[in-house]
């Protein structure tokens, strides 16, 4: 172990406390880029965004600019978006189709496979002495795909993607695998910034159902199905369960290991109850039997819930938002939000879903804004000297963890519990203080014991 910045003294998952320096310290942030973001599996793109040879999408792994490229043989590779000559971004487009990536600075040009193919004035300036085979784009060490989602990892010794996902795979399947044909990204990518640490957003989607009835009270009230909602008489919450469903205690929060977690609640009927338009709700009801066949009743009905796959990939069932919290310093994130729909959805349902998605969780979404307001304000409070030294309480449901017998995996607890947050921060501290994945895995085993034997 190599706890360079003593982060293990800042997170106490056994007692349920967090010291807020983890959200503000620039040294901790720099170490996160190395030990979290250069060693975890990070979401890069959805396969549907780059279907043809030469299609590409530019994104980030932590703060590193990345090119994701469909190869001529149909496979996908990813590269650092950085010219090997003087470091310029070789591709400035958000995405598209190309045959080469040519640096705008001096004109070095790379093929789809990252190979350096062309150097201006190679003969005259380099006297034909440059070994181009040594100066290809830096390839992302590992790229793997899971049901349409493409991930990258810089660490050759990290566990394979599916081992890394662990029990979280079961929850992700409930989002990606409701119908034959899988999912696709509908519309473009919404991108915006929030002035907060990345862990506020990632932790909330991982573990925090508790905020919903209070933070979102006004939105929930407005969206109750009443004919006054829309001028044409079709209410937003048409056909959906009317009462707040967290009251029935049927749901739960769960920690999947490796920092992943989610919380969910069940709906009495197979309706979305996620404030999507009535047309989308009707679609979910109509295809409920197929979802039951593919996923079983529990996941087919579990249309609502929030999830984080550590560190920065989050999604919401039902509203179908998938987002990455790209870190931009200790006190800023870029949110990249994608709307995921079933490929088999009729076009008019896709249109309705895209609108529902933007209305609820787009940059100006009525639920999105509630959340970011909280995170931004906490970050502002943490400008204070005393505030930064004052412990946060993470004790909800401590000691009431269980393993369910109804087939729902993970270490579970009542819907309102901070079980997944304790797991999230413990894994964070483990990654930050371990020198390699062997150590991370050993620490995870010890931490799980602590979390379950409080």
């Amino acid at each position: 172990m190599d706890d360079l910045l003593h982060v293990r003294s800042l997170v106490n998952s056994r007692e349920g406390t967090v010291k807020p320096a983890i959200y503000t310290d620039p040294d901790i942030y720099r170490l996160e880029l190395e030990r979290i973001f250069a060693r975890s599996w990070l979401f890069l793109a959805h396969e549907s965004m780059i279907p043809k040879a030469g299609d590409f999408f530019t994104t980030y792994m932590g703060e590193d600019a990345i090119l994701v490229v469909r190869q001529k043989d149909g496979s996908v590779d990813a590269y650092l978006n950085q010219c090997r000559h003087r470091g310029m971004r070789v591709c400035h487009a958000d995405g598209g189709n190309t045959r080469a990536f040519t640096c705008p600075y001096h004109g070095w040009s790379y093929g789809l496979d990252g190979a350096l193919n062309s150097v201006p004035l190679e003969k005259e300036a380099y006297r034909d002495q440059l070994d181009k085979s040594k100066w290809g784009l830096t390839r992302v060490t590992r790229v793997a795909t899971y049901k349409g989602l493409i991930f990258g990892n810089w660490d050759a010794t990290a566990p394979d993607l599916e081992d890394y996902m662990g029990d979280m795979k079961w929850y992700l399947d409930g989002f990606l695998d409701r119908r034959a044909g899988g999912t696709e990204v509908l519309g473009g990518v919404h991108k915006w910034t929030i002035d907060c640490n990345w862990k506020f957003a990632a932790e909330q989607f991982c573990s925090d159902q508790y905020h919903a009835p209070y933070t979102h009270a006004s939105a929930i009230q407005v969206l109750q199905p009443t004919t006054a909602n829309k001028a044409d008489g079709s209410p937003l919450g048409e056909g959906q369960t009317a009462k707040p469903v967290w009251a029935d205690a049927l749901g739960g929060v769960q920690f999947s290991g490796n920092g992943h977690g989610s919380a969910f609640f069940f709906t009495g009927k197979p309706d979305a109850n996620v404030w999507v338009g009535g047309q989308v709700s009707a679609y979910f009801r109509e295809h409920y039997p197929e979802a039951v066949e593919r996923l079983g009743e529990v996941r087919a009905k579990r249309l609502a819930g929030h999830n984080t796959m550590f560190p920065t990939l989050s999604w919401l069932n039902g509203t179908q938002t998938l987002r990455v919290w790209h870190p931009r310093g200790p006190d800023k994130i870029e949110v990249w939000a994608f709307c995921l729909g079933d490929k088999e959805m009729p076009d008019d349902v896709k249109d309705a879903l895209v609108k529902s998605h933007a209305r609820s969780f787009g940059p100006a979404g009525f639920l999105e804004q509630d959340d970011s307001e909280n995170w931004v304000e906490v970050q502002k409070v943490l400008k204070g000297h005393i505030a930064r030294k004052t412990d946060f309480c993470m004790q909800m449901g401590r000691g009431f963890e269980e393993r369910r017998t109804d087939g729902i995996p993970g270490l579970t607890n009542y819907t309102f519990a901070e079980t997944a947050a304790r797991g999230f921060y413990q894994h964070w501290a483990d990654m930050m203080s371990a020198e390699n994945w062997g150590e991370i895995e050993a620490l995870a085993k010890a931490s799980e014991k602590e979390l379950t034997n409080v």
Binding site: A100, G107, S109, P120
Partner: protein
């Protein structure tokens, strides 16, 4: 005769290019009703013009540094290229496309 067989007329869709291994390598393009052949190597830097972006006005843009060339004359239409691409006659016979390399192309390669 110094004709090289390229492909059948139907094998190359309009808007596409094809590299033909020869001395020198040739890029053959199909634009609308016509076929064109030019030297495959860009006159500016190492790049295969057959990979270029073809426009309806019978021009091709180099895939690497975006120089544009006229496919009819070979003329360089913008920087960074200044020298024309060499052009070659196309022969179409019995639904097959040939490029006529000419005697001097072969002797040039021999030099």
């Amino acid at each position: 005769m110094s004709e090289i067989h390229v492909c059948s007329v139907d094998a190359l869709p309009s808007g596409e290019g094809l590299r033909v291994e020869a001395e020198p390598a040739v890029a053959v393009f199909h634009v609308g009703d016509a076929f064109y052949a030019v030297a495959d190597m860009c006159t500016h830097a190492t790049a295969s013009m057959s990979e270029g972006y073809v426009d309806d006005d019978a021009t091709v843009e180099c895939p690497v540094h975006a120089a544009r060339f006229c496919l009819k004359s070979g003329r360089a239409l913008c920087l960074p290229a200044t020298e024309a691409l060499r052009t070659f006659p196309i022969v179409i016979r019995d639904g097959e496309v040939y490029v006529d390399m000419g005697a001097d192309a072969l002797s040039e390669a021999a030099e």
